[in-house]
């Protein structure tokens, strides 16, 4: 009888150990999954940031007209944007 109790306790300990190990492994996988989700979120955010930046710096609306911009409000800035417009219109015309 005593032997039987000892065997049952050992079996119970083994089962509990298996459950604990399984839970630990499961939690670890969740952490990894969570980490992956976080990484993916970061990647998406980065992509969105790039897209937003692209929208600010150079949108592409198909057949839309082009508007050039410089924040340089000076004689040099005015010449720069005038030359840019001239170059681009010439390129579009003759290409």
């Amino acid at each position: 009888m005593k032997k039987l109790i000892i065997v049952l306790v050992i079996i119970a300990i083994i089962i509990i150990a298996i459950i604990i190990i399984f839970n630990l492994l499961n939690n670890n996988n969740k952490d990894i999954a969570s980490t992956n989700t976080h990484v993916n979120t970061n990647v998406n955010t980065a992509n969105n940031t790039d897209a937003n930046q692209l929208n600010q710096e150079g949108t592409n609306n198909g057949d839309a007209s082009t508007v050039y911009f410089t924040s340089d409000i000076s004689s040099e800035g005015l010449m720069k944007i005038y030359i840019e417009l001239q170059i681009q219109t010439t390129r579009k015309c003759c290409s």
């Binding site: 929208n55 600010q56 710096e57 150079g58 949108t59 592409n60 609306n61 198909g62 057949d63 839309a64 007209s65 082009t66 508007v67 050039y68 911009f69 410089t70 924040s71 340089d72 409000i73 000076s74 004689s75 040099e76 800035g77 005015l78 010449m79 720069k80 944007i81 005038y82 840019e84 417009l85 001239q86 219109t89 010439t90 579009k92 015309c93 003759c94």
Partner: protein
């Protein structure tokens, strides 16, 4: 609107010389290099209201006082007379009355100070080639939506705005590939340079924009005001006058495109 612009022949640089008393108009020092690089003539027309630029002699004096005669020749286009341009797709205007010297120029650089305006909500490229090129009588004709050639009024706000777009379309069509548009977004008052005592700007300067499409150019400026953290006053001015309708209608009649690709060259 993909075309080739190369300044050739007589080059006009259309600006607003600014009413005496105001100081938000484009600085001669800012535009000097561009005007001189194209051997341009600064062109303007007399006003239809009784200010300091309603006659050629007075207007020339203001141009001198504001420093424009120092950097280039100044031509008051309606000094002698008006000529009529065809208005394509017009429902208000049968023609556009511009200063007769307009026909002496082969290429045009429309150099506008973007800002608010008491009647139009805002002023940019479209207003500069409509009201700006119109003779004194032509200005009244636009303001009245084609019903009179002296004084102001007699038209609903939207009819006035649509008439502005129609007059702009007359100039843009007439000059074809030989016209480009540059807007300077500085000193962004809610009032225009035709005001002798404009409100102080209460938002920061933004930059310079350029395009071959006056509608897209003005739309980009409007959008930048909406994007600005301190654009409330100018937005209120534009919205209270339904200013955007000028561009909506301009796009409808083929003056330009409301959609644009924004290219930052900084």
């Amino acid at each position: 609107m993909n075309y080739k612009f190369k300044p050739q022949g007589n080059v006009a640089v259309k600006i607003s010389t600014g009413e005496a008393g105001g100081n938000n108009y484009l600085s001669p020092d800012l535009i000097k290099n561009l005007v001189q690089s194209v051997n341009g003539t600064i062109v303007e027309c007399n006003t239809a209201y009784g200010g300091s630029r309603s006659s050629t002699a007075m207007h020339r004096q203001v141009a001198e006082d504001h420093g424009f005669t120092r950097i280039a020749n100044v031509d008051i286009l309606d000094e002698e007379d008006s000529i009529n341009l065809d208005v394509p797709n017009g429902k208000h205007l049968d023609y556009d009355m511009v200063g007769s010297h307009y026909q002496n120029y082969d290429s045009v650089i429309v150099l506008s100070h973007f800002k608010g305006h008491a009647m139009a909500g805002f002023g940019g490229a479209v207003k500069n080639i409509s009201i700006g090129f119109a003779s004194s009588s032509g200005k009244s004709y636009i303001h009245s939506a084609g019903t009179r050639t002296s004084g102001f009024g007699g038209a609903s706000q939207d009819d006035f705005l649509e008439s502005m777009a129609e007059a702009a379309s007359a100039v843009a069509t007439d000059k074809g590939d030989n016209i480009i548009y540059i807007n300077v977004m500085n000193k962004l008052s809610v009032d225009c340079d035709c005001d002798s005592n404009p409100a102080e700007p209460d938002m920061h300067d933004i930059g310079i924009l350029a395009s071959t499409d006056p509608v897209a150019l003005d739309k980009a400026c409007v959008d930048l005001v909406y994007d600005a953290p301190d654009g409330e006053s100018l937005i209120q001015r534009m919205e209270s006058r339904n200013g955007i309708h000028t561009l909506d209608y301009g796009a409808e009649i083929g003056l330009g495109n409301l959609n644009y690709n924004f290219v930052n060259i900084d």
